[in-house]
Amino acid sequence: MLPIIRRDLLNLLINPALLLYNTLFPFLLIVVLGAINRDLYDSEVITAHDYYTVAILVFMALNISIIATNSFMERSVKRPNLRIGYAPVAEWKLYVSKVLATFLFCMGSILLVSAVVARIYGVGFGGAYFAFLALLAALAMLASTIGVAFCCLLRDEESANKILALVNLFLALLGGVFFHPRTIGETFAAASAFSPVRWVMQASMRAIHDNDYAMVLPAVVIMLALGGVFLLICRRTFRLEDYL
């Protein structure tokens, strides 16, 4: 499976649009949102850039589901992926490799963006950087499996992207990435308790600001378990002939 993961990862890395979308775009979002909301967080404890660095990195991890669909069933890779099916390679390796390659691509982007932002704005993550990374990794893994599972279910990358683009935006709003869900309404705020994005935001902020890591492990475990469920969906629904 390693050659397949390597190939999938390289396919992502040589795509300039995907690369920019996962590095420059989130970086710009952090810069701009931090700048225009600088009055919102006006204390020695936290600045707007501190807040939006965490929020946008969470959004990046969530959005990786769309990259996963691209890696799995985009037109230019469909036929070569089918050729992998001719080889003595177990079927499950075909979709698991996409999940793993997308995950690695995402984590690489996150590391890069967080390093750059930390350098420019002095964002320190309160000494909880690795706990925060663990949460992002779990969310990225979940998002990757969701993307691939949607492709397996819908048998079509474009339909999957249609749904995921809007679902991700909805989950981001529900999770409080751009602003508190309460801004939208109390019902929305109550519903946010069921959002993995909200769990990651809460667990991250508790680790960073309260030095409380109690929520990290349960959140990671639940997200990985959910990822496992989506992988099972892939196993039940994926057929090689979907590449035909």
């Binding site: 795509n15 300039p16 649009a17 995907l18 979308y21 775009f25 710009l28 979002l29 701009v32 949102l33 700048a35 225009i36 909301n37 009055d39 919102l40 967080y41 006006d42 204390s43 404890v45 936290i46 807040y51 769309i66 691209n70 985009e74 037109r75 230019s76 990358e157 474009e158 339909s159 992207n161 249609k162 749904i163 683009a165 809007l166 935006l169 909805f170 709003l173 409080g176 751009f178 602003f179 508190h180 309460r182 801004t183 939208i184 309404g185 019902t187 929305f188 935001m201 809460q202 902020m205 508790r206 960073i208 600001h209 309260d210 409380d212």
Partner: protein, 318 residues
């Protein structure tokens, strides 16, 4: 042009599942946009640590009595905006956010008249359009799929060499996408207003103008993105990034005031003009200036898209 239009509808009707999914998603997210924006009531959330209940009642304050200080992370996340405790008979307020929040709460506790201090005076119609703008723009891209298909299968080259030409094709494509996105949006709005008895801030027919302009803007920019970037997913990534970014800057999710050059850029964004236009319409004014400010980029993007498509076809790029 009618022939092209008929062809587009025949192609989408030949995929009923795909059509149902697309239309269903459009309807769903417009409905959510209406729901969240029409029902939002901005308030300051105060964690009250003193004995008893929060002593004053102010519309803009939602006070929650707590036995212990909330976590710092809850303040960071905005679960609470201000923490109030009583020390030696005096109230003390602390906020991680703007010091004005602290001053506001203390003023309210001192019995001063603070009504309207933080009131969100954004008209309901403007709040609705703020969210609807994002959804309509994003949805428009999904109906340009047929153009992307025609690029890939060579049909676009046939169009160029036919007597009807590219212009008719693009007009028909625009009408096709417009009918679906605009039509669904207006129907959902009507259901929201009359079926769910919700106040939408201005008469339904007034919404036709901002909805129509936003849909056309979305179609024009989609076409431009797809003409500029030939790979569909890359075009989608660029399109979604720009739409989200500019919508946030224009204040779709809440008004922003930053001053300086950046403010001028934000004020010039077409999404901002759509919201200003809605504000004017809600006040029964005729927003010609704002409509023109939205029409200008629509025309520009259509023109650029047409020029790019023609140039790339001639260069054999499609």
């Amino acid at each position: 042009m009618i022939a092209y239009l008929r062809g587009f509808f025949a192609r989408i009707l030949a995929k009923p599942y795909y059509l149902a999914l697309s239309v269903g998603l459009t309807a769903f997210f417009i409905f959510v946009a209406l729901l969240v924006s029409a029902t939002a009531e901005p308030t300051l959330r105060v964690a009250y640590l003193a004995d008893g209940d929060f002593p004053v009642e102010v519309d803009a304050i939602e006070a929650v009595s707590l036995d212990a200080e909330p976590r710092r992370s809850e303040l960071v996340l905005g679960d609470y905006d201000v923490v109030v405790e009583e020390v030696d008979g005096r109230y003390e307020a602390e906020s991680l956010k703007n010091v004005e929040y602290e001053a506001f709460v203390l003023a309210a506790l001192a019995g001063e008249d603070v009504e309207g201090y933080f009131a969100d005076e954004t008209p309901r119609a403007v709040r609705i359009m703020g969210f609807a703008v994002v959804v309509l723009l994003l949805q428009a891209f999904f109906y340009i799929d047929l153009f992307i298909e025609d690029k890939k299968n060579g049909a676009l080259a046939r169009v160029m060499s036919s007597p009807r030409g590219l212009g008719s094709y693009l007009v028909a494509l625009t009408l096709y996408a417009f009918f679906i996105v605009f039509g669904v949006a207006m129907v959902v709005l009507a259901i929201f207003r009359w079926g769910f008895n919700q106040d939408v801030g201005m008469p339904i027919p007034y919404y036709a103008i901002p909805f129509a302009l936003t849909t056309l803007l979305g179609i024009a920019f989609s076409l431009f993105s797809c003409a500029l970037i030939e790979v569909r997913d890359n075009a989608a990534a660029l399109f979604a990034s720009v739409v989200l970014f500019t919508s946030i800057l224009s204040g779709s999710f809440g008004a922003l005031n930053v001053g300086g050059f950046l403010q001028r850029v934000m004020d010039a964004l077409p999404q901002r003009h759509v919201m200003e236009l809605s504000d004017a319409l809600a006040g029964d004014a005729l927003p010609v200036g704002h409509a023109a400010a939205v029409l200008a980029p629509i025309v520009l993007f259509f023109a650029l898209a047409g020029w790019l498509i023609r140039a790339k076809l001639r260069a054999g790029r499609y």
